[in-house]
C-alpha cells in the first residue's frame, strides 16, 4: 500500500483500476515489485501480449483487405516477435528474478534489442529499430492501460493517472468511464483544476510523482475529501473505502433528486443559483444541474487552443452558443482575464517578476485595445440572443471602470455606423476582487450595474498569499476573519445602494460557507455546476434567520480555525449525514 498526499480539487471517494495517460510518450514506471506481486505482473505481461496480438492481427487483416498482402506483411514480423518465446522468456526472467514490473521489464528488454539494431551496418536493418520501438509502445500501452484515444471507449470505471491534463482533455472527461483523477502537477486555481471541479468527480492534484509510482492496472483509491491517493490498498483499507464510496454515491444520488427542486430557504426566500462556465457548451449542462443561468462565463478559455487568439466571428459564435444554452436565463459574460496564471498567454509577455501583480486581466485588455474591441464587438453582436450582462474583471479604480465602459461605447458606435444590430439595455458590472475595490465599494455602487465578488483573487490579495505556491498555500483560507468581514461589508453596502450583488468565487460552491453567505444577505450564488445540488440542499434546510445567527457568530471569532470549526459543526447540525 502506498499513500500519497496532494491537493484536493473535488471531494468524495472513488475506487478503481488505474489507467495511465501521457501527453507524449509512455512513461515507464521503473519500480520493482514485491515477491507477492510477481505473479500478477507475469499475468499482466501475458494479457498485454495477448491483447497486442489481437490488435495486430486485426490490423494486418484490415491492411490485407485494403492494400493487399505486401502491406500486411509489415506486421507479420511484429506478430512473430510478440509470439517469440525467447523474447518473452527474457522479459519474464526480469520480472521473476529481478522483480521488475512488467512495464519496466518489457521496456528494458526491448531497449536492449533496439541498441543491438543500432550497431548494425546494414541501413535496412537499422531501420528495424522503428519496428522494435513500435512493438515496445504497443506492449506498454497494453501493460500500462488505455491510450488517450481510447478514453472514450473505456468499458469499466477507471481512475485516470497522468502527469498533467490539458484543459481540453479535462473537458472531455465527462461522458467517459473515468471516476477519479490523480495528477502529478497542479495548483487548485489552475484551469485544469477548475475544470476538474466542474466535472465534479473526486480528484487530487499536485502529487508530484503519482504517474511514475502507480502502474496501469493498479488498484487505486482517490480520497478527494482528505486529499489522498492510495495505491494498491490492503483488503481492509479497500473495504473501508468501498463503504465510503457507496455512501458518497448514495449522497450524490440524493442530490440528483434535488436538481429539479427550487432553491428556496425553509422560510420561503428565493435564492438564485447560477453556474460558472469555461466553455459555451457548459451553459446547457449547468442548467441540467439546476442552475437558473450563468453567473460567470470565463471567456479567456477561448484562447486555450493551438491556433491562438479567436477572431470576432468565432467569439460571437461562442457567446451566442452560451447565451442560447441558458434558455432565456441570465448570463454574465466576463471579458478576458488573461495574464498571470492564465498560462496560454504567458509566452507573449516578457517575464514579469510578479505576474499576479502584473499586466493581467482588465489591465491587459486596456493595453491591447484592438483585441479588447474585437471581444466587445463579438459580445454586442451576440447580445440580442438573450438576457446578457457584461462584466470587467480585476477593477481597482473608477478610472479603470470608466475607461473600459468607454471602449464599450466606442465598439457600440462602430457597430451602429456599420448598421449591425445589438442590444443596448444590458447591465455592465464589475468583479470585486481587489482590496481597493472592496474599500471603495460605495463609490463603485454609484456607477456599476452590478457587482460580483470574486473571492479567489480577493482572498489572495487580502491575505497576500499566492495559493499556487505550495509553500504558502496553507495560509490561503476563506475562513480568515478579514475575508468574512470584507464580504459582509461589500454585500451590505450593495444592498443599501440597491446594486445587485453576487458571489462567483469558489466559496459560493463550498457548502461550508453557504450558511454564512446566506446570513450576510447574499441572494445570488454562482459556482461550478457540480456544486449546485449540494449548496441547494443546505439552502433548503435552513431559514434566513438561522443563517443570520450563524453569520453573526462566525464573524465574532478571532481566528480562521475557530471559524472553520464552528461552520463545520453548524452544517453537521443542519445535515447530520453529509460529509464536508
Amino acid at each position: 500500500m502506498d499513500i500519497l498526499r496532494g491537493i484536493a480539487v473535488s471531494p468524495g471517494v472513488a475506487v478503481g483500476e488505474a489507467v495511465i495517460l501521457d501527453a507524449e510518450d509512455y512513461r515507464i514506471p521503473y519500480r520493482s515489485v514485491s515477491a507477492e506481486e510477481v505473479d500478477a505482473e507475469l499475468e499482466r505481461l501475458a494479457s498485454a501480449i495477448a491483447a497486442s496480438l489481437t490488435e495486430l492481427e486485426a490490423q494486418a487483416h484490415w491492411l490485407e483487405e485494403q492494400l493487399g498482402r505486401d502491406a500486411a506483411n509489415v506486421f507479420q514480423w511484429h506478430i512473430g516477435v510478440l509470439k517469440d518465446d525467447r523474447l518473452r522468456g527474457g522479459i519474464e526472467a526480469l520480472i521473476r528474478e529481478q522483480r521488475f514490473s512488467a512495464a519496466s521489464a518489457a521496456s528494458t528488454v526491448m531497449r536492449n534489442y533496439q541498441r543491438r539494431f543500432l550497431q548494425m551496418s546494414d541501413p535496412l536493418l537499422v531501420e528495424r529499430i522503428r519496428d522494435v520501438q513500435d512493438i515496445e509502445r504497443r506492449l506498454l500501452r497494453h501493460i500500462l492501460g488505455e491510450s488517450r484515444e481510447d478514453l472514450a471507449h473505456l468499458t469499466k470505471p477507471v481512475i485516470l493517472i497522468a502527469h498533467d491534463l490539458t484543459p481540453t482533455q479535462t473537458a472531455q472527461l465527462a461522458g467517459t468511464k473515468v471516476v477519479g483523477v490523480a495528477l502529478d502537477v497542479g495548483a487548485s486555481t489552475s484551469h485544469t483544476a477548475i475544470l476538474l471541479r466542474s466535472w465534479g468527480r473526486p480528484a487530487v492534484i499536485g502529487l508530484n510523482d503519482v504517474s511514475t509510482r502507480i502502474s496501469g492496472g493498479d488498484g487505486v483509491i482517490i480520497d478527494g475529501s482528505n486529499q489522498l491517493v492510495v495505491a494498491n490498498p490492503t483488503p481492509a483499507t479497500l473495504k473501508d473505502y468501498r463503504a465510503q464510496e457507496e455512501r458518497y454515491l448514495r449522497l450524490t444520488g440524493q442530490l440528483e433528486s434535488i436538481k429539479r427542486l427550487e432553491a428556496v430557504t425553509a422560510d420561503g426566500v428565493r435564492i438564485q443559483l447560477l453556474s460558472n462556465i469555461e466553455f459555451p457548451q457548459e451553459a446547457a449542462s449547468g442548467m441540467e444541474q439546476g442552475a437558473e443561468g450563468v453567473g460567470l462565463y470565463r471567456t479567456e478559455f477561448l484562447f486555450l487552443r493551438p491556433e491562438g487568439a479567436p477572431g470576432e466571428e468565432e467569439q460571437q459564435a461562442a457567446y451566442a452558443q452560451a447565451i442560447r444554452g441558458v434558455r432565456g436565463g441570465p448570463i454574465t459574460i466576463r471579458t478576458f482575464d488573461l495574464g498571470a496564471d492564465k498560462y496560454t498567454q504567458q509566452r507573449r509577455f516578457e517575464q514579469e517578476r510578479n505576474p499576479m501583480l502584473g499586466l493581467r486581466s482588465i489591465r491587459y485588455s486596456l493595453q491591447n485595445l484592438d483585441m479588447f474591441k474585437v471581444q466587445l464587438r463579438a459580445f454586442l453582436r451576440a447580445s440580442l440572443e438573450g438576457d446578457v450582462r457584461l462584466m470587467f474583471p480585476l477593477i481597482i479604480s473608477l478610472m479603470e471602470f470608466r475607461q473600459a465602459k468607454l471602449t464599450l461605447h466606442d465598439a457600440m458606435e462602430d457597430l451602429e455606423e456599420e448598421g449591425v444590430p445589438f442590444r443596448r439595455d444590458f447591465p455592465v458590472g464589475m468583479m470585486l476582487e481587489t482590496p481597493a475595490a472592496a474599500v471603495q465599494v460605495q463609490e463603485f455602487c454609484r456607477e456599476v450595474g452590478f457587482i460580483s465578488i470574486g473571492t479567489n483573487d480577493l482572498i489572495q490579495y487580502l491575505l497576500a498569499v499566492d495559493r499556487g505556491n505550495e509553500r504558502v498555500s496553507r495560509f490561503y483560507d476563506a475562513s480568515h476573519p478579514a475575508v468574512l468581514r470584507t464580504i459582509r461589508d461589500v454585500i451590505r453596502t450593495c444592498q443599501q445602494a440597491g446594486v445587485p450583488c453576487s458571489l462567483c468565487g469558489e466559496m459560493a460552491g463550498q457548502p461550508l460557507y453557504t450558511l454564512f453567505l446566506l446570513g450576510v444577505g447574499l441572494r445570488t450564488f454562482s459556482m461550478a455546476p457540480a456544486n449546485i445540488p449540494g449548496v441547494k440542499k443546505l439552502i433548503r434546510a435552513v431559514t434566513t434567520g438561522y443563517a443570520r445567527r450563524v453569520a453573526k457568530r462566525a464573524l465574532s471569532f478571532e481566528t480562521e480555525r475557530q471559524v472553520t470549526n464552528y461552520l463545520r459543526d453548524e452544517i453537521k447540525k443542519v445535515l447530520p449525514e453529509d460529509p464536508i
Binding site: 512473430g80 517469440d84 518465446d85 525467447r86 534489442y113 539494431f117 546494414d122 535496412l124 536493418l125
Partner: protein, 103 residues
C-alpha cells in the same frame, strides 16, 4: 549455405524461416558464420533471427538437434535455397558448408 536474397534476411524471410522452424520439435540453432563475431541464435525466435544480420551472401550454419532434426534441417535448408519462397532476383548459389545435423 549462403543467403540468396538480394535484400538478405529481412522481415519476410525471417518470418518464413521462423514459421517453418516452429513446425518441428527439434531445437534449431542458427549462426551467421560470415560475421567476425559468430553468435548462435534460436531459429524459432523472430527477434533473434533478425539479429543475425544476414545479408545477401552471408553464410548460415543451421544446427538441428533432437526429435525430427533431420527433417527440420532438410526443410530449412531447402527454404533458404529457394530464397524463402519469395520471387527474388539474386540467383541461389550452391550450399556452402551445408547443414550439419546430429540426432
Amino acid at each position: 549455405m549462403a543467403v540468396p536474397n538480394r535484400q538478405g534476411m529481412h522481415a519476410r524471410p525471417v518470418m518464413a524461416f521462423v514459421d517453418l522452424a516452429q513446425k518441428f520439435s527439434a531445437d534449431i540453432a542458427v549462426s551467421n558464420i560470415s560475421r567476425e563475431l559468430v553468435e548462435v541464435v534460436d531459429g524459432k525466435s523472430a527477434m533473434q533471427m533478425m539479429l543475425l544480420e544476414a545479408t545477401q551472401g552471408s553464410v548460415l550454419r543451421i544446427r538441428a538437434t533432437g526429435g525430427d532434426a533431420v527433417l527440420a534441417a532438410d526443410a530449412l535448408v531447402a527454404l533458404v535455397r529457394n530464397a524463402f519462397g519469395m520471387d527474388q532476383a539474386g540467383a541461389s548459389r550452391p550450399a556452402d558448408p551445408g547443414a550439419s545435423q546430429s540426432g
